[in-house]
């Protein structure tokens, strides 16, 4: 059908039973049903139509809306009215149009694979559109219907597990799939994602190239990088650095005398831009730690040395806030296994937070200790502490516990805990003796 042919001269009809089987349909719907892997008198294999029919039956309301489906290599959009009866739903399709993503209209290659034998995360939304693909696939695949990119296969019993799982919102593991226009074959794992109120959001999972199967281990799907973050980071960093440089130049009075408060304004600019630069770096860290292949190096570390380095880096900032830093003595040494720069990053975040939020005139202490199988480095302050109910929440993304306007982004602790766990350690918060908060980073002992 033509992209311009929206109105159907004769509406297409179908009927779906309460149990979700396609009872009757005009040939065009049977064709889509079979293309999607369905068979005679089986559960309707077109997910959008199945969902619409189920909704109309549940609410007992006539419902009209667009439904997307895969038609061979193209996506199509149907305009469908669902009229519920006691044991079935009548579907009336009055509109039908082809959809080619604008990005694919000018250059439509046969396959979206850029690099063969690669694996990665995949996300499919509730309408079976692909939201994320491994980096080895072209971004042209994003937004397209799952069925227009991948070829699904039937099992020995003739059913199609992948389609069944998508319709029934179940998990699947290690199901073979092909890619349209390519000889490459993959295994796919998918897990349904539900919102807190039970709404179905889509499936998240992983595709693994068959050549890579030996190294494949099913894992919990994780949110990986956002494709725009790196692009934006590169766009933002240069102007940010220019802002910092300009502000520093103004504040340094190189070009002549300047009133003190004006110089302070310049310093504010520089600080704000530095903060944003840190935030951009946080975003890049989020990219890194959410990648399925992210792992931390296993360096030999000496936690006392790291504590003293962090103290040195933040001494000036602590002094500005009227806070005293107490560090381990040179003779104190505790060995651990982890990645040096990541542990330093975590500690800078923890001590930076303590300096930022602890009251002026108080003491922030960094201590180290070794227990049976692990080593620990802790940051204790004399602030208000973290209420028990908030001690997990504080590690959530963008969690500020009501704070605002202090330059924090709410990402630091989230990233720090993820880094700690990537090093086979952990990061927790408890009460410090005598009040305040105690953040404790544990790592495998050496």
């Amino acid at each position: 059908m033509s992209e311009f042919q929206s109105f159907l001269a004769v509406p297409i009809k179908a009927c779906v039973s309460r149990s979700g089987e396609l009872v009757s349909a005009d040939p065009a719907i049977w064709r889509l049903h079979n293309l999607a892997g369905g068979s005679d008198s089986k559960t309707i294999a077109i997910p959008g139509l199945a969902a619409l029919a189920a909704s109309a039956l549940r609410t007992r309301m006539r419902t009209e809306r667009p439904v997307r489906a895969a038609d061979e290599e193209n996506d199509i959009e149907l305009w469908v009215m669902a009229t519920p009866h006691s044991d079935s739903v009548d579907l009336l399709i009055t509109g039908w149009r082809d959809i080619l993503p604008p990005t694919a209209r000018s250059v439509r290659e046969k396959s979206v694979i850029l690099n063969k034998n690669d694996s990665g995360e995949i996300l499919i939304d509730s309408e079976q559109r692909v939201v994320r693909l491994p980096s080895s696939f072209s971004v042209r695949g994003i937004g397209q219907h799952f069925g227009s990119l991948f070829v699904v296969e039937s099992d020995a019993r003739g059913s199609i597990p992948l389609i069944d799982a998508l319709i029934e919102r179940r998990a699947i593991t290690q199901v073979p799939i092909g890619v349209i226009g390519s000889e490459e074959r993959y295994l796919i794992d998918l897990t349904p994602q539900l919102a807190s109120d039970g709404r179905y959001l889509g499936h998240v999972g992983r595709v693994t190239a068959i050549a890579d199967v030996a190294a494949y281990e099913p894992s919990t799907p994780a949110r990986s990088d956002l494709p725009m973050s790196r692009q934006l980071a590169s766009v933002l960093k240069q102007p940010l650095n220019r802002i910092v440089a300009n502000a520093e130049t103004i504040g340094s009075r190189i070009h002549g005398p300047l009133r003190d408060n004006y110089a302070e304004y310049a310093q504010d600019i520089a600080n704000a831009a530095r903060h944003l630069t840190e935030l951009v770096s946080d975003m890049e860290d989020l990219d890194a730690i959410d990648r399925p292949d992210f792992s931390a190096a296993r360096d030999r570390l000496e936690l006392g040395d790291i504590a003293r380095r962090v103290g040195g880096l933040l001494a000036l900032k602590a002094s500005d806030h009227g806070i005293s830093l107490v560090l381990p003595q040179e003779t104190e040494k505790v060995s651990a296994i982890g990645e040096f720069r990541r542990v330093l990053q975590i500690m800078l975040n923890l001590v930076g937070n303590a300096v930022r939020y602890a009251p002026g005139g108080s003491i922030v202490t960094i201590s180290i200790e070794k227990q049976a199988d692990f080593a620990a480095i802790s940051v204790l302050d004399q602030g208000q502490g973290v209420p028990e109910d908030d001690r997990e929440r504080v590690f959530e993304k963008f969690e500020r516990l009501g704070r605002s306007g202090d330059g924090g982004s709410g990402l630091g602790l989230f990233i720090s805990r993820r880094l700690a766990r990537a090093m086979a350690g952990d990061l927790i918060v408890t009460d410090a003796p005598g009040g305040g908060a105690l953040f404790r980073l544990t790592l495998p002992a050496r």
Partner: protein
């Protein structure tokens, strides 16, 4: 630097501070469009009022009365039965929609409806002209008559709220069980999506196919509903979520949405002004180079990834 006057330094400093914080906020809005908008107290109040109006509209339809106070409100709000994401998002979207309408009207002194629906009234295809008529009618109703607010809910959410209102009215002994049940069945079975301007706009956009694409991409010509419906057809994010992105304090998500449509920088400048009225102070400072540097394909990929926030 060549700064001769200290006042220039202050001006530069102030501008750069604002630019820095605006950049930070916009970056967050692009990366996490669902997670970065903590509603202000004012917005929360307006959302609460919108929920009250919604509850009242259902009660009036059920009881056939014109009371100004929803009798089920107290029980529903105290019990937490209104704390459903779908209901909150609906009320938030209607509130943002009101603000956008005000912006456009204050900036241009013209109707929010745009000219395209009027043009389509004379379309040679009678089905399209009829849809345009229904769109204009629904837009008028939505602006002037809160008693039809419930018609703007999708069928699933209306079903959910209607039966909760029924339960609260029964608990308050406002009406008899049988009468209320029959009234609820009637209300649900006569729900008319054509009274929801965004729903009828979405239908119109579907059946227009590739016609009027240029007009649809410009909210000044298409009007808010057709513009949002056109973006929804293209991106599949849902009309209400798109409304909230467009009305967001941060302009960056809107820039990405428009970049995905391959609009020129000049066109985008005019559209931003149209949608944000005269309050464009919080647009990305010097956003044009950033917009020019973005790639439409990458923009579309980023927009697709916005669904991830809901999936976390």
């Amino acid at each position: 630097m060549g700064i001769a006057n200290p006042e220039d330094a202050v001006t530069l400093a102030t501008g750069q501070i604002l630019a820095t914080y605006a950049l930070r906020d916009d970056l967050l809005a692009v990366l996490f469009p669902r997670g970065n908008n903590l509603p202000s107290e004012l917005l929360q109040s307006r959302v609460r009022l919108k929920l009250q109006a919604l509850t009242l509209s259902i009660e009036q339809a059920l009881l056939g009365e014109t009371s100004q106070h929803a009798q089920s409100w107290g029980l529903l709000s105290a019990s937490g039965l209104l704390r459903q994401p779908a209901l909150i998002e609906f009320a938030l979207s209607r509130t943002v929609e009101d603000a956008l309408r005000t912006n456009i009207q204050s900036a241009f002194g013209i109707s929010v409806l745009g000219q395209l629906p009027v043009v389509l009234l004379a379309h040679e295809n009678e089905r399209l002209s009829e849809m345009a008529r229904k769109l204009l009618h629904a837009e008028q109703m939505s602006v002037s008559d809160n008693s039809q607010l419930f018609q703007r809910l999708d069928s699933e959410t209306l079903h959910l709220l209607c039966w909760r209102v029924v339960a609260a009215l029964l608990e308050g002994k406002v009406a008899e069980n049988v009468e209320l049940s029959e009234a609820a069945q009637t209300l649900l079975s006569t729900h008319d999506a054509d009274l929801n301007p965004l729903a009828i706009a979405r239908k119109l956009v579907f059946f227009l196919g590739q016609d009027y694409r240029q007009e649809l991409a410009d909210p000044r010509k298409s009007g808010l509903n057709l513009f949002v419906a056109s973006l929804d057809q293209d991106y599949g994010l849902g009309s209400d979520f798109l409304l909230r992105l467009i009305g967001s304090e941060q302009v960056a998500p809107l820039l990405l949405l428009l970049k995905g449509q391959s609009l020129s920088t000049d066109e985008v400048a005019e559209i931003i002004l149209a949608l944000r009225g005269n309050n464009a102070d919080n647009a990305i400072p010097d956003w044009q180079p950033v917009y020019a540097a973005l790639d439409p394909v990458e923009a579309r990929a980023a927009i697709a990834s916005w669904k991830l926030d809901a999936m976390e």
